[in-house]
């Protein structure tokens, strides 16, 4: 059970949150301008590092807000 710090509510149990995967993946400005390869990359490819990972969480059973966090995927420790 991870302990995740919601920027608005403070530290809470993992079970209050839902996971959103990699942070900072912007929706393409002009999807129709992308090649198949670029579109495929946007839809299917996400970073999967062993180590520092910027990720999204939503405090689904709390304030219901999304936020970013940085976690070390090799240790599960949240990093400042």
């Amino acid at each position: 059970m991870l302990q995740i710090t919601c920027p608005w509510c403070g530290p809470r149990d993992e079970t209050e949150f839902s996971y959103g995967g990699q942070a900072g993946v912007a929706y393409p400005k002009q999807p129709s301008a992308l090649s198949d390869e670029q579109w495929g990359t946007f839809v299917f490819f996400r970073e999967n590092p062993k180590g520092r990972f910027a990720e999204r969480w939503v405090h689904a059973q709390g304030c219901r807000r999304w936020f970013d966090a940085i976690r070390d995927t090799a240790t599960n420790d949240f990093l400042p």
Binding site: M1, L2, Q3, D13, E14, T75, N76, D77
Partner: protein, 441 residues
């Protein structure tokens, strides 16, 4: 108080465990091993017990060393396998979620010291029924006896089980592991004969007028009461065999002499209990002086103190190999795994603790290898001719002791397993005779 074991009724005492009562009544054997059906008896004192497994009603594989006697208790010895069946059960399984600044796991001397020094809200977990501390809410101190920490998880989260029916989920700022150390045996031919026990267990049981021989590798047995003889491995002496059939009648020494006895109290050294430390990925290293693994490196917010950290443990001159018939030299009593099989695994090309464990099944039984893991690795290292540390260690996984499905499921059963969700119109639909499609919600 009366209780029944294997169809025979015995008198029991308040606060006694089933194992203690059996030993007091002179029951040395009473159990049989899983594979070979060899006679076995009470061997340990607490959760390290590999032999004395019983079925109590619908509850399989209870360790007699942990079963507190109650009037009318009926226990059947098990040959390594239990029985599960449907039975009514009115136990109220429950869970608690708590937070504290300091969580102390283990209520021995080191645990008590840590609790007294610990700041803020302090929780102490103690597996046995007794603790030198008592809860004091004015001081923010909560002491939970009969409560075993079974898992240490990310985010300093500990899961503990109280009396098989209440699960504590504890989030702590700081965790102090004070789980102590467990004695380990010595491997020699016929070392499984009923009457061979860990010295730390033998000296706590009421052995009546039994003739006790002590076989040791260290000073922890110095104060052993009333032994007829002590065989000290440090002076080169060895127990090379045991005599008897259904129960121990004597031991054979390296010079061919024999000593008649009813109990052989063995001490092969002490293993710090590092299961919880290992659950979170804590590392261990081999310490030659005490011949045991001790914690090394750091885990954020977790400390190990007392004998769990190796402190105060005696120097040990381990005896890994004795010679003689290796097919009856048992390394893992619960799995019935012997030295000959370990040697075969090494011959097959295996060089790692993890492989040897899977080849021989040593350490995979319900005692989680508490008495077998290290003696097997010691023997393997000596056979291969490498330092023990080269074999790597096999990591421990939760739970520290087995926990029933019902306990862990708690209240989340039946209607509360996944509460049904209905729309506000549901009652109206029912009233108007609607036919429903089961969509799972």
């Amino acid at each position: 108080m009366r209780f029944t074991f294997a169809g025979t009724e015995y008198e029991g005492r308040d606060g006694e465990t089933l194992a203690a009562a059996l030993v007091r009544h002179g029951v040395r054997g009473g159990f049989a091993s899983i594979g070979l059906g060899r006679p076995r008896g009470v061997f340990g004192w607490a959760d390290e017990e590999p032999n004395a497994l019983v079925q109590i009603g619908p509850k399989p594989l209870q360790r007699a060393t942990l079963v507190e006697l109650t009037d009318g208790l009926v226990a059947e010895p098990l040959k390594g396998k239990g029985r599960i069946f449907e039975a009514s059960d009115d136990t109220w399984y429950d869970a608690r979620y708590v937070h504290c600044e300091t969580l102390v796991i283990g209520g021995g001397a080191a645990g008590v010291a840590a609790a007294e020094a610990g700041g803020g809200r302090v929780i102490v977990l103690e597996a046995s029924p007794h603790s030198a501390l008592t809860s004091d809410s004015t001081q923010g101190l909560r002491v939970l006896t009969r409560t075993t920490a079974v898992g240490l998880y990310d985010g300093n989260y500990v899961v503990a089980v109280e009396r098989d029916r209440r699960v504590w989920h504890i989030r702590a700022k700081r965790i102090v592991i004070a789980t102590g150390a467990v004695e380990r045996p010595i491997a020699f031919p016929n070392n499984d004969r009923p009457g061979v026990m860990l010295a730390s267990a033998a000296c706590r049981y009421d052995l009546g007028g039994a003739r006790v021989v002590v076989y040791t590798t260290n000073d922890s047995t110095l104060a052993f009461p009333d032994a007829v003889a002590t065989v000290d491995a440090r002076s080169g002496r060895r127990v090379v065999d045991t005599l008897g059939a259904e129960r121990l009648e004597g031991v054979v020494l390296d010079d061919g002499s024999t000593i008649a006895c009813d109990v052989l109290a063995v001490s092969g050294g002490w293993n710090p209990s590092l299961n919880l430390w290992s659950h979170r990925g804590g590392k261990v290293q081999w310490d030659d002086k005490i011949a045991a693994f001790i914690p090394t490196g750091e885990l954020d917010g977790v400390e190990v103190v007392g004998s769990a950290a190796g402190a105060g443990l005696p120097d040990v001159s381990p005896v890994w190999l004795t010679g003689g018939d290796e097919t009856v030299t048992f390394l893992d009593l619960e799995r019935d795994a012997d030295l000959a099989e370990l040697r075969r695994g090494i011959g097959a090309g295996l060089r790692r603790a993890e492989h040897l464990k899977r080849f021989t099944l040593i350490g995979t039984a319900s005692d989680q290898g508490k008495t077998s893991g290290v003696i097997a690795m010691g023997a393997a290292a000596e056979i291969i001719g490498v330092p023990l540390a080269d074999l790597g260690t096999s990591s421990f996984r939760p739970p520290f002791v087995p926990v029933s499905f019902s306990t862990l499921a708690g209240r989340n059963r039946g209607e509360l397993f996944d509460p049904k969700r209905e729309t506000p119109m549901h009652a109206w639909h029912v009233a108007h005779g609607a036919i429903f499609e089961d969509v799972g919600q």
